[in-house]
């Protein structure tokens, strides 16, 4: 049941998260202990999981859930992020990517995930077994050490000299217990026995177990060890577990939603879990809210509509409920799921009755809605807002208000659901069940007191136990008080005790709530102490824990340093949770994520905007043309002897006209720039792919490579980013595969074992320059010479005369380099011609510099945008041609005698170098205007980065911004035009593709060579 409407958002969101995750994962390999990094990864995968769940993507959720579990272990320090684990996580990430692209294409999840999920589970389970054998501590010992810690805690409580630091270390202590618990919970049976034992032990222990945070993490940790993780997704409500411990665990988990939704966290270690459930819960509530409004409207309409319509409405209602049921089931709210199921059944029966034309009682819709409302009082707000439009029964609101009188309760709203639900179901069987479920909660009184110190730190506000009690209280005043009575009577004495102490606890709680609204530090220093005093007085109720153990304090202080480090993490994540805590609180912006205000726009829309700007540029050129024409006209009128007075009129007009054009020019320039900027994206998106590539390629080649990325914030047209991704990837692969030497060789050469690749991007006027530098073995010039000679490209003497740069350029000649012959020794050149072609397609240039044994530097120079380029317009005969300015090196006026002929080609000497000259008129078979007696020519020197030639033209028209427009495809074939543009006079001017042009001339040259050789050979034979 994939929600297609949400799929698009999911695909986009997941893509971002996955990217973030990959970057972090790769960094993780080098810094396996970076908690912040782990948190980032966790957040990413968690976001994916939450969203996938919401949309209804089973495979993605299963896989992300398993990865999440593994990450959790890493975060808690249970596991080292070995390269094995990182690799599995990377694989999982890749699989999710595949699934996402599946979804994008086919809207279904085609790829299997089971193998990876199993792999993840293997990693999850593995070290635990090891721990088991090594530790082998008897259960009893563990329990007693529990006790010890507990007493230490109490001792700590008694300590008068507590400040916030020690409080934090106290938290740390708890974490220890927590991890201890986790270690212990190796498998289900153990958990089972453990729980039973705990039950048998004294109350302290029991209460310890019921400490919500710990229990929660404990429970969550154990989940993955059950037969399958997918039970979470089980839609048919049958989260049946053969193991009784499982059942118990589930019930408690379910029973304790408060902790999972606790707005603030107790410490850095349990935080992930809370965050996890928090987010899920938020999604859950959000969905519930939407659906509730739907259902409510539905119910209102039901009462007024006729039977056929009713049937439709009921079908709608079932649909809504089904999705609600699904999410409730996912949240493991059994009762709620059951509640929905009942509801659906009711509706189905009603529908049947309706179809038989019988009147069916539909009051149950209202009733159920009311119940649901009481379960989730936060729905109230929605109802009130909905009331304006739909005439909702006032009494419904009243009910909600009754159950919602307590402000504390309002804050803990989400926590109520389970118990309320139990009550509301109104069936004694439920209560009975609840009683068994409440086994754990019944031991709450003790922990409340013991755990309260935690609450003093501002990060750790509402202990869920409180909420339970608040619920109980509220329940007294609520409609369901009767049920509650039954319930409370059935609970044992400890619950009664709980009820007694609940009053003061409540005070503490509300005081805390007040304080959280103030500065956190302030709380730490002032309120905390007051609260502690409160807690101390409460503590006296509990006679269980009195023993003093200073050891715990010592342990605590040693952990202080670590806690300090983790503190910022807490602070960062706290605000994200607060919105749920209190609806009235101003929305806080999460400190971690920096949200840029952005909107997603269809790329086509931007393209069309770009086209229109292009048109504007053409129009502007036309106006400029008009200005020149007017001044010509002026000149003409002057000659024809127009009266000075009349002439002045025209002159004034011409002046104003040109002013207006200039203004238009400025505005259109600014517009063009802005539109261009819209298309600009930072290179980050592209560069982020490369760490992964380097990692993979280096691994397969058994090389050590570190990649340094510079200037990733440089912005570039999105289209170009996409176009250069492949060439760049290829070049980096080359750099690792052929450039960087194996570690041994590097050491021998006196280099560090790890090769370095530097990827750098920066702006250079209207271009972006990307440099890929490796400190590898460089390009072997001799090899290139040999090869060039072998394929008869040039003679040995010619080659010897060539500069190294010219020679290295050969690697980019098509057909010059073949992988087999070159890669084994000097490397490079594999597919470089393809790279060059791709770059040239973008009007870019590529340059290679290499110092043998030291480094190789590949330099790409690419125009910032494709659509509008500055260009030089030249004339040949009657036609004008456009040469991209990117390729123009200089324009020269050349004397005829500067040109000499060399091997049937015209050449000229330019600053000591020979440059071949080609006549455009000849190349294009055009009629040139030049006369034979002309002594001077215009030559445009064009450069492709690898080659330099001169183009002889009739005249130079000028420089302009031109809009590239495509030509019909059959005009591109074997042609040297990259498009056309419309120049000022409205005529079409073809844009010369310099690369193709040079290729064309080169082929001609080579052909010529071959023909000559053939001829001489034939001559030879003839003789």
């Amino acid at each position: 049941m994939i929600d297609l409407s949400l799929l698009e958002d999911f695909v986009m969101g997941a893509g971002e998260s996955l990217e973030e995750m990959e970057t972090a994962l790769l960094t993780l390999e080098s810094t396996p202990n970076d908690i912040e990094l782990l948190n980032t990864i966790f957040r990413a995968i968690h976001t994916i999981k939450g969203a996938a769940q919401f949309v209804g993507l089973e495979k993605v959720s299963v896989l992300s859930h398993a990865s999440e579990d593994l990450l959790d272990l890493l975060r808690e320090g249970k596991r080292q992020a070995t390269s094995d684990i990182v690799n599995v996580l990377i694989q999982a990430k890749d699989r999710i990517s595949t699934l996402v692209s599946d979804l994008e294409r086919t809207q279904t999840e085609n790829t299997e995930v089971d193998d990876l999920v199993q792999m993840l589970h293997v990693h999850l389970a593995e070290p635990k077994a090891v721990q088991n054998t090594t530790e082998a501590t008897p259960e009893e010992d563990l329990l007693s050490s529990f006790l010890e810690d507990e007493t230490a805690t109490n001792n700590f409580l008694n300590d008068e000299t507590d400040d916030d630091k020690t409080l934090e270390s106290f938290l740390e202590d708890d974490t220890e217990l927590n991890s201890f618990l986790l270690d212990e919970s190796n498998d289900d049976t153990e958990i089972d026995s453990f729980l039973i034992e705990i039950d048998d032990e004294d109350e302290t222990l029991e209460s310890f177990l019921t400490d919500d945070t710990e229990l929660d993490s404990f429970l969550l940790e154990t989940k993955p060890h059950e037969d399958n993780a997918s039970f979470l997704l089980d839609t048919d409500n049958s989260t049946t577990n053969d193991d009784s411990a499982d059942a118990l665990l589930f019930d408690t988990d379910e029973k304790d939603p408060p902790l999972s939704t606790t707005p603030q966290s107790n410490d850095a270690f349990t935080l992930p879990i809370e965050e996890h459930d928090q987010e899920l819960f938020e999604i859950f509530v959000l969905q519930l809210r939407e659906k509730f409004v739907l259902l409510n409207n539905n119910a209102v309409q039901l009462e007024t509509s006729y039977s056929q319509k009713k049937n439709d409405l009921l079908t709608d209602a079932i649909e809504t409920l089904e999705s609600l049921k699904f999410s409730a089931n996912y949240m493991a709210y059994e009762k709620l799921t059951y509640f929905y199921e009942n509801w659906i059944e009711h509706i189905l029966t009603a529908q049947k009755k309706l179809s038989l034309n019988n009147e069916a009682p539909l009051s149950f819709m209202r009733e159920n809605l009311r119940q649901l409302q009481t379960i989730f009082p936060q729905l109230k707000a929605d109802i009130i807002s909905a009331k304006a439009s739909s005439e909702t029964d006032i009494s419904v609101n009243n009910t909600v208000e009754v159950s919602n009188t307590d402000s504390v309760n309002e804050i803990s709203l989400p926590f109520d659901d389970k118990e309320d639900d139990d009550d509301l179901s109104g069936e004694n069987a439920f209560i009975e069940e609840l009683l068994t479920q409440n086994k754990t909660p019944k031991s709450t009184p003790a922990p409340i007191i013991e755990k309260t110190p935690e609450k003093i730190t501002p990060e750790t506000t509402p202990a869920p136990v409180n909420t339970n009690k608040n619920d109980f209280e509220t329940r007294n005043s609520s409609v369901e008080s009767e049920l509650f009575h039954k319930l409370s009577l059935a609970l044992d004495a400890s619950v009664v005790e709980q009820a007694i102490i609940s009053e003061p606890i409540n005070d503490v709680f509300s005081a805390l709530l007040d304080s959280t609204e103030k500065q956190q530090k302030e709380i730490k220093n002032t309120k905390a102490k007051d609260l502690i005093l409160d807690v101390k007085s409460l503590k006296e109720v509990n006679a269980n824990v009195e023993t003093v153990s200073p050891a715990a304090v010592t342990i605590a202080s040693t952990k202080q340093a670590t806690i300090k480090e983790k503190a910022p993490v807490i602070e960062k994540t706290t605000p994200q949770k607060s919105p749920l805590k209190n609806k009235t609180a101003a929305p806080e912006i999460p400190a971690k994520k920096v949200f840029k205000k952005s909107i997603r726009v269809d790329a086509d829309k931007i393209d069309s905007l770009m086209n229109q700007v292009g048109e504007l540029i053409v129009d502007r050129a036309y106006f400029f043309q008009l200005v020149t024409e007017i001044s010509e006209l002026q000149q003409y009128l002057k000659v024809t002897g127009l009266a000075q007075k009349d002439l002045k009129l025209i002159r004034t007009f011409a002046y104003r006209f040109s002013e207006a054009i200039l203004a238009l020019g400025r505005t259109s320039n600014a517009l063009q720039e802005s539109v261009m900027k819209v298309r600009m994206l930072p290179m980050t998106q592209l560069f982020n792919r490369f760490p992964r590539l380097v990692h993979d390629v280096a691994n397969t080649n058994h090389k050590k490579v570190s990649l340094k990325v510079l200037g990733e914030e440089t912005e570039l047209d999105k289209m170009i980013i996409e176009e250069i991704a492949d060439p760049l990837m290829h070049m980096i692969r080359n750099a690792i595969g052929h450039g960087i030497e194996p570690p041994e060789e590097r050491l021998k050469a006196g280099k560090s074992e790890t090769g370095n690749i530097v990827l750098e991007a920066y702006h250079e006027s209207n271009h972006i320059v990307i440099e890929i530098t490796d400190d590898g073995r460089g390009i072997d010039i001799e090899r290139i010479k040999d090869k060039a000679e072998k394929i008869d490209l040039f003679t040995r003497e010619e080659l010897d005369r060539m500069s190294n740069n010219d020679l290295t350029r050969f690697i980019m000649m098509p057909g010059f380099s073949t992988a087999k012959e070159i890669s084994s020794t000097s490397g490079r050149g594999v597919g470089m011609d393809v790279v060059k072609k791709n770059i040239e397609k973008l009007n870019g240039t590529i340059d290679v510099e290499s110092k043998k044994g030291i480094e190789t530097k590949m330099r790409l120079k690419i125009p910032l945008t494709l659509a509008i380029i500055p260009a030089l317009i030249v004339k040949v005969g009657a036609d004008s041609f456009t040469i991209p300015l990117a390729n123009v090196e200089e324009t020269l006026r050349v004397q005829y005698n500067d040109i000499s002929i060399m091997e049937e080609t015209e050449v000229m000497y330019l600053r000591g170098k020979t440059v071949p000259i080609f006549r455009l008129a000849t190349l294009f078979s055009l009629k040139s205007n030049e006369r034979a007696d002309d002594k001077e020519f215009f030559v445009v020197i064009v450069n492709t980065g690898t080659q330099k030639i001169g183009l002889m033209v009739d005249s130079l028209v000028g420089q302009d911004e031109v809009v590239i427009k495509p030509l019909a495809d059959y005009l591109y074939e074997q042609n040297c035009f990259s498009g056309a543009t419309i120049i000022g006079d409205g005529r079409v001017s073809l844009i010369i593709d310099i690369y193709e042009l040079i290729a064309m001339t080169t082929t001609k040259q080579i052909n010529k060579h071959h023909r000559q050789e053939k001829n001489s050979l034939e001559l030879f034979i003839d003789e």
Binding site: K965, L967, Q974, C976, A980, I982, R987
Partner: protein, 177 residues
């Protein structure tokens, strides 16, 4: 549009009237389905494209779009024109999304013919034209109207082949001197 079509569908297919734009090259009358004709222009300044197939006259600027123009006479290998007109007629056709201009001698008028009057192209050459480019022939007022298959005329592969041949010969000629 769709309504029109559905009305047409109701008619017997044989009796459907189709409208053709008639045009002439030399003395032959040709027809093209009016739905394909985007517009008819005269006197556009054509920019020649070097190294393009011989029948590609060049490109024109049609309100900001650059449209290739094909000399239909050359494309269909008809007899070269003896005299040069002052201005050409250019039929701008939308051939399955590819906007292309075709130079013809002159455009006559819109001809209505019945679908069942169209005969398949004859085996023999009609007006020196290869039958592959002909969709059918139809007798209108005693004269033969040749319905051209422009999709075939603009078949890209074929054009490419023609072009590379042209390119090669061009190259050979340049090489020779």
């Amino acid at each position: 549009m769709t309504d029109n079509y559905s009305v047409k569908d109701n008619l017997s297919k044989k009796e459907q009237l189709i409208q053709m734009v008639g045009f002439k090259i030399d003395n032959e009358t040709f027809g093209v389905d009016i739905l394909m004709v985007q517009e008819i222009i005269r006197a556009a300044s054509i920019t020649t494209v070097p190294n393009s197939p011989e029948f590609v006259e060049g490109v024109i600027n049609l309100r900001g779009s650059i449209i290739p123009v094909i000399d239909l006479r050359k494309r269909l290998n008809l007899q070269p024109n003896n005299y040069k007109q002052d201005t050409d007629w250019i039929l701008i056709l939308d051939i399955s999304g590819r906007i292309t201009g075709f130079i013809v001698d002159w455009v006559t008028d819109v001809i209505k013919i019945q679908e069942n009057n169209i005969d398949p192209p004859p085996e023999i050459l009609v007006a020196g034209l290869q039958s592959q480019y002909i969709r059918g022939v139809c007798e209108v007022e005693g004269a033969l109207l040749i319905l051209l298959d422009f999709t075939r005329i603009l078949l890209v592969d074929e054009m490419k082949k023609l072009k590379s041949a042209a390119f090669d010969s061009e190259q050979n000629t340049t090489d020779q001197h």
